[in-house]
Amino acid sequence: MNNKFLKATLAIVLLAAFFSSCKPKNSGDVVSGDAAQKAYVAPGKFDEFYNFVSGGFSGQVSVYGLPSGRLLRVVPVFSVDPQSGYGYSEETKPMLNTSHGFVPWDDQHHTELSQTNGEVDGRWLFANANNTPRIARLDLKTFRTAEIIELPNSAGNHSSPFITENTEYVVAGTRFSVPPDNANGDVAINTYKENFKGYLSFVKVGKEGQMDLSFQIEAPGVNFDLSHAGKGKSHGWFFFSCYNTEQANTLLEVNASQKDKDFIMAVNWKKAEEYIKAGKGKKVPAKYVHNTWDEKTQTAKSEMKSEVLVLSAKELKDICYMIPCPKSPHGCDVDPTGEYIVGSGKLAALIPVFSFDKLQNAIKAKQFDGEYDGIPVVKYEAALHGEVQKPGLGPLHTEFDGKGNAYTTFFVSSEVVKWDIKSLKVLDRVPTYYSVGHLCIPGGDSKKPFGKYLIAYNKITKDRYLPTGPELAQSAQIFDISGDKMQLILDFPTIGEPHYAQAAPADLIRNNGQLKYFKIEENNHPFATKGEKESKVIRKGNRVDVYMTSIRSHFAPDNIEGIKVGDEVYFHVTNLEQDWDVPHGFAIKGADNAELLIMPGETCTLKWIPKKVGIVPFYCTDFCSALHQEMQGYVRVSPAGSNVPLTFSLGTNVPVSK
């Protein structure tokens, strides 16, 4: 009897499953049986979305395909990358220059795709450096770092690189308030309240993507954490979450968690622009670098800037307003309509949702609750749309699906919760494995989310993969959100520590004019060698320039004699290939820097100082053809002061007969 009942139930469930499979809205949590099908991308087929994931303490940006979770590429941004020579080749070294000199590493937290009219447009990706504050711009035609700008008066550039809806500005904030660069910084740490300031940077983005630090807003010394721009009706405003409004300088774990409410700071950047036009900004001395990559010369240059325009939030009353937000807010996310601003108090047991319209009315009616360090504090209830009650523990970040739903991550209760923005009702919850931090929905912070998938980036991995000793790769998890219920379809490991990520439909990126190789005719590198006939070796004092070419499968020249110990040898290697996916490598024994990986049509330079007498081989490191193992050469290194003449050749240095 019992058995029959079970069978009947099973039959009904199975039938329901078959039918519901035609109606994705109900595909929900029936089984994980079709999860594999949903995440499966057949060999040779493309993924639906690109996923640009911050690399955390790796300093790089990783690119995955969705829904397969396949790693497509790691783009070097803020850390050196010996495998491509990024930060080691003479051309790329200036990209990592800062006002502190060459910095080989950083902590990369958030990525943001450029937008037009609030929609992802597939041109560029912005990335922040948290440790030595900088913003990078990646060109998505080449998947390379095109530009890096440093931010003065800042420390811990966390609330960055979020953008306005037409990519007018990319912003940066300061998580660790410090005395401004131009002030005397040699002060007692416990004079925080008096001497420490929080600066918000507005970096203008030009038509070709070029970045320029337009102005900074000097705000009270607190910890600015995350931010998002207004959009649609709230275009012209920016929202920054801040904690440590207690202004503690030690044991923040306790001392920065005293107040019941901290703030979301609303910044009217259009008003700031008006003040600048009216000459209210002050030019303040500041040293920061602007590094740019020139595609024509295939070389980066680093320029030191000397001043920045600063507006005071305290003096210019109607730029900034504080909105009280419970318990050390972290995420600060604006819904696709631009009306709702979600603050995630990471120690709160509720999620406050603010209304842009109500905020505007409150400002007009001066519904203030005093000031915080000279900045008006808007009454909490006056700006509040409502609170999501009992959503979970430790809310961190929220993204949107464009269908009126919000999805918030909960670190402490380790789950993603789906809720209705208007009614504030919780609709669904799924566990994550384990302790989710950021999440990403394709287009999920834009006016036009693409929905379909949600990726949770977890902080803890534990038992999700085969053990690999004490250190484990952080796990990410993909959920299908096309139905009413979220469904886990795949786990995948990541590099570094993923924080925020962005995703865009594959066509937006792959149809944006992807570059397959660099045209040799357009190579204006000063040391380019266009054709083997031009290959040569030139000595000027102890500097030796080797103009070398590579093509399947030989270098020209491949025999060089007359190099001496202590020479500064520059190998300028030009890859003469003109086809997609034919890089050549260049490595030389004993080099104390890295290799070069030279794309077709490109010229790269490796500096090498021979320290020992002898014969030193070099070779191609990227398997290029059936004769790749033959792609090698020799340098003869003679003692300093030797009389061996400088010679170079390819194919003519025939064996000496005995």
């Binding site: 991308v41 040779g44 087929k45 439909p505 266009k530 499968s553 086809d579």
Partner: protein
């Protein structure tokens, strides 16, 4: 029997859904192909495979074109091909315009990969060189100028 029919119905449901999804959600058009693969039986070894059916040659050499062609040869070809009949990485160029029709040369230098797969002469050459001639992304004009330089190299005045 009943079970089987249920299975078939279920299968039909699945497959019908699958097709629908494929039409709306499949971004994967696969790898880009520059040339539609031709039926091997229709391959013309005199013409080769590519966009050129006939190439008109002048009775005499076009010196300006040959000069342009020589510049391109220096950058994109000379690393592997000598102008004599001596093999370097690939075969020497001497006599290349006498051994091959101009359309065959034009097709090969603009569309090497698909043509190597089809052409008996190129297959034989591959066994000697063990290296597929790379696509050097010659424009139509570049390719025609290179051909003119090959003619010059073969003594056309």
């Amino acid at each position: 029997m009943y079970k089987l029919s249920l299975f078939i119905v279920a299968l039909a449901l699945f497959t019908s859904c699958g097709k629908k999804e494929a039409a709306t959600e499949d971004f994967s058009t696969g790898a880009e192909t520059t040339e539609a693969a031709a039926d091997p039986s229709t391959y013309d070894p005199n013409r080769g495979l590519g966009k050129y059916s006939t190439v008109e040659l002048g009775a005499t050499l076009d010196v300006a074109m040959a000069t342009e062609g020589e510049k391109i040869q220096a950058v994109k070809c000379s690393a592997c091909h000598k102008l004599t009949d001596e093999k370097l990485v690939g075969p020497g160029w001497k006599g290349v315009t006498e051994r091959n029709k101009p359309e065959w040369i034009m097709n090969f230098i603009t569309n090497p990969d698909p043509m190597i797969d089809k052409d008996p002469k190129l297959q034989a050459q591959l066994e000697l060189c063990l290296l597929r001639m790379p696509n050097q992304s010659l424009s139509d004009t570049d390719a025609r100028n290179v051909l003119e330089f090959m003619r010059k190299n073969d003594g056309v005045k």
